[in-house]
């Protein structure tokens, strides 16, 4: 138990209630309903703002250094003039069996069993980029240069999130700073987390509510309720990475036939 947690517990009501030594474990899971994704990019911008992800210049984008923790991948389906675009929001899949973790020589990419998260320790990263290569989703973003925030734009940096230096790998964290905050709030108030209390920036802003986030281990949570339908799939499921981001195929509602 960290010192912070101890202090938070000390602030609790009774001493008898205090000796709860561990934070509860969660199975944080994201569900993306592709039937509702409109490719509006609100999640992308929200993520940039929440997580201090730098915007790369035109020259950098041309050179393949575009940096987004979540991006809208646009694919084409069909042949000829019947081709229709589809959107696939792609972000770190928070694999339970993450290919990026074993390859990191310095343990900068580590797993949190308690939170079901794949963590990236920025200040431990030495920049071998092995994790980035080994991510079949190419969800990991490398800081090819040190980020630049011009003028007063630095004022809008989120103080809860580190600004990563150049030469460091970064990726979606499921807004771990928000997870910490709600966990600590719940700890102080001596109650379990409520479903829907923890919302990452992308899910928060998603106008169509295509992104749903929650704790899969809570059977009453919205994600747990919606998992297991016919439309559910995971990207590159066959690789055995066991992602914690689930997708729902477009073209059907939860209750209806696919």
């Amino acid at each position: 138990m960290s010192e912070l947690e101890t202090r938070l517990l000390d602030r609790g009501q009774s001493a008898a209630a205090a000796p709860k030594t561990e934070l509860p474990s969660h199975k944080w899971t994201m569900l993306i309903d592709l039937d509702k994704c409109t490719g509006c990019n609100a999640c992308v911008v929200a993520c940039h703002v929440e997580n201090n992800v730098p915007i790369r210049s035109e020259r950098e984008v041309i050179r393949g250094h575009g940096q987004h923790w979540i991006r809208i991948e646009r694919y084409w389906e069909g042949e000829g003039d019947a081709q229709r675009a589809t959107f696939l929001p792609m972000l770190c899949q928070q694999c339970s069996n993450a290919p990026c973790e074993p390859v990191c020589p310095v343990y900068a990419s580590v797993h949190s069993e308690r939170e079901n998260l794949n963590l990236q320790v920025y200040n431990r990263c030495v920049g071998t980029r092995f994790c980035g290569n080994n991510c079949p989703y190419r969800a990991r973003q490398f800081n090819w240069f040190a980020p630049q925030f011009e003028g007063p734009i630095t004022e809008m940096l989120n103080p809860d999130v580190t600004v990563r230096s150049g030469g460091v790998m970064e990726k979606c964290t499921f807004c771990v700073q928000r997870i910490r905050r709600v966990e600590e709030d719940a700890l102080v108030e001596g109650r379990p987390l409520r479903d829907g209390e923890m919302v990452p920036a992308c899910a928060q802003t998603c106008p169509t509510s295509a992104i749903v986030f929650g704790d899969r281990s809570d059977p009453q949570s919205q994600v747990a309720q919606r998992l297991g339908g016919q439309r559910e799939f995971q990207v590159l499921e066959h690789l055995g990475t066991a992602p914690n981001v689930y997708y729902l195929k477009a073209g059907g509602s939860d209750g209806g036939a696919g």
Binding site: T38, C40, N41, A46, T205
Partner: protein, 728 residues
Amino acid sequence: MTEKISRRDFLRLGAAGAATGVLAGCTSPRRWVVLEPFVRPPEQQVSGVATWFATTCRQCPAGCGVIVRLMNGRAVKLEGNPEHPLNRGKLCARGQAGLQMLYHPDRLSGPLLQSTRGSREFSAIDWNEGINRLFQALAKAGPAVAMLGGATMSDHLFDLFSKLLAAVDAPPPVIYDLYTELGGYRTLAQAMGQVYGRAALPAYRLAEADVVFSFGAEFLGTWTSAVRYGVEYGAFRSQPYGKRGLLVHFEPRQSSTAVTADDYVAIAPGSEGLVAGALLRLIADGNLGLAGRAESARGLAPSLDVEQAARECGIPLEALQRLARRFADAEHAVAIPGGALAGSSNGMHAARAIEALNVVSGNAPAGVNTTPPDLGLARKSLNTFADVQSLIARMRAGEVQMLLIHSTNPAYELPEAAGFLEALAQVPLVVSFGAMVDETAVWSDLILPDRSYLESFGYEVVSPDFGSPVVSSQQPVVTPVFDARTTGDVLLTVARGIPAAAAAMPWDDEVDYLNQMVAGLPEAAYPASTAEEKRARFQQHGGWWPAPAVAAPTLRPQPFTVTAERATFDGNETDYPYFLHVYPSVLLSDGRGASLPLLQGVPDPMTTIAWQSWVELHPATAERLEIRDGDLLRVTSPHGEIVAAAYVTPGIRPDTVAIPAGQGHQDLGRFARDRGSNVVQLLGAALTDEGGGLRWNGVRVALARTGKRIATASLESKVGVTEGLGYE
């Protein structure tokens, strides 16, 4: 930056100004904000603990409620206001990027004077001098003052401008910008007026619809309120009992709305009204659908040959019949007109034809925005392009001594053929209230930068739905970052020296104005006993809305006729072989987002291109002209030409090329400048047949290679996604 001027100093300065027959800001002391050091932090500021303030987003005219997260006095995140009935806690990409509007490095600090227009050589003056100059010019100009405003201007500011102009007997402000023109706001409202007798923007409850026919309405990207329709769309897709609504979209180009549609029909440009007419005809002739539909359609359907209509629209007749049956069979079918059809030559006809479908549907969850008259609130009304043309004519005739410009950028947004800049040369004084130097500010003499929307007060009457009015509140959430001054206070200060205006605008400052406005509002959804609490709650909750949503007034269609023909286009087919499809960029909208790196650097959803502008063309077109991605093309229309890079995509008709609006700025800060090209330069200044709108969806273009090529700043692998390696 710290305004350490005490009130006394300030009054003394004001007195010194008064001695020379001018009047400076005797504003209320309550408006003075002094930056506090953190050794003595404001009460609500605790290090590490966030504070939230509710205000209104002004990135587009919709007026979503936002809450701003502040850490140590810095705004670090915008989120949708969950209580706000318009956006219900959600926000779009442009709204999310709003913080960069506040912290933009190129924002102006203090008023500027430009000796020669267009020289970009500005000299800084202090606020007293700036206000005095405005006052003197106003006093001299008399009624020869004109005001051009944009739709994102706060309603209270519109009221103050209107009152000031009325006091000097000048014509009322002209509210016009490219965003609302591309959205067809004005034309659609006029069409609603013809159909229902209520000229206001149409609104739809998608969550209650079974079938939605969208006629080029990019309601999930840019049209009216993408956030509200996004929320509605989410509910539309998962309705109770597993019901899922069906969306059919008609557009010449696959927009993100087309992509999400179940059925996308690539119709010929300008044929939306014809499609609607043919659908009506098919329902009428085929006796299709639920009881009463065919009878209703028979009264409205235009006389046309459906086979020929199908051919003209580029849809197989069978598909058209299937769609007609689907529409007629649905209990709650709704048809939505988009912006592009409103900008066509036959915009009003098309809008009426589409509204006729809603009339046929009978119980379409559709209606029009309303401001209940008993609220007594001022609300902007948009002007047509014809009104802008008459303003330009007045300017050219020398009838305008002084032009005030707020939240619009006519030098960038108006087609060259409108002759705005030539007419501007005839205006002795041009005052811009832009927070940054935009294209229009470059052609003005005096810049009195307004604060960003996150630093200012205001309100906006939004109607998320038909029936229940919402007044969204705007309040400063941070201490001002730059030495900008709210235009409302500038106007009130100036008004004090003009007796008629002083009488019409008796408020100390804009806060005083807003307090009185709030005091007049009826009971809100949240309890508030005293007037003081009412004011506080108004700002705390982010606005005013009635507790139970007011039932929608039933709309009774008046007798109207539907005509259906295809829109006409400038330029003949041999010289200009391609239709030009202009659309507002999902991120940059009409160009106002171009100043923000967050919107520039995030890839466009359909092309995944960031930072650039492009011409979308069909692979067949590209093959015929031997064009590859990134080839710089000279796009020529009868009205002008631009150079833009090619982007080959299967998501467009072979006879059409599409160019997004938004890039091609010469000014508007370091991130927007010299980037891509401005599609507006291809447009003429002709009016639509009816209603006085700009006929922006009505040009044909020719393409030619320049021989130069640029690298496309796209996120996707074109080889992987679109082209393949050629052996799949």
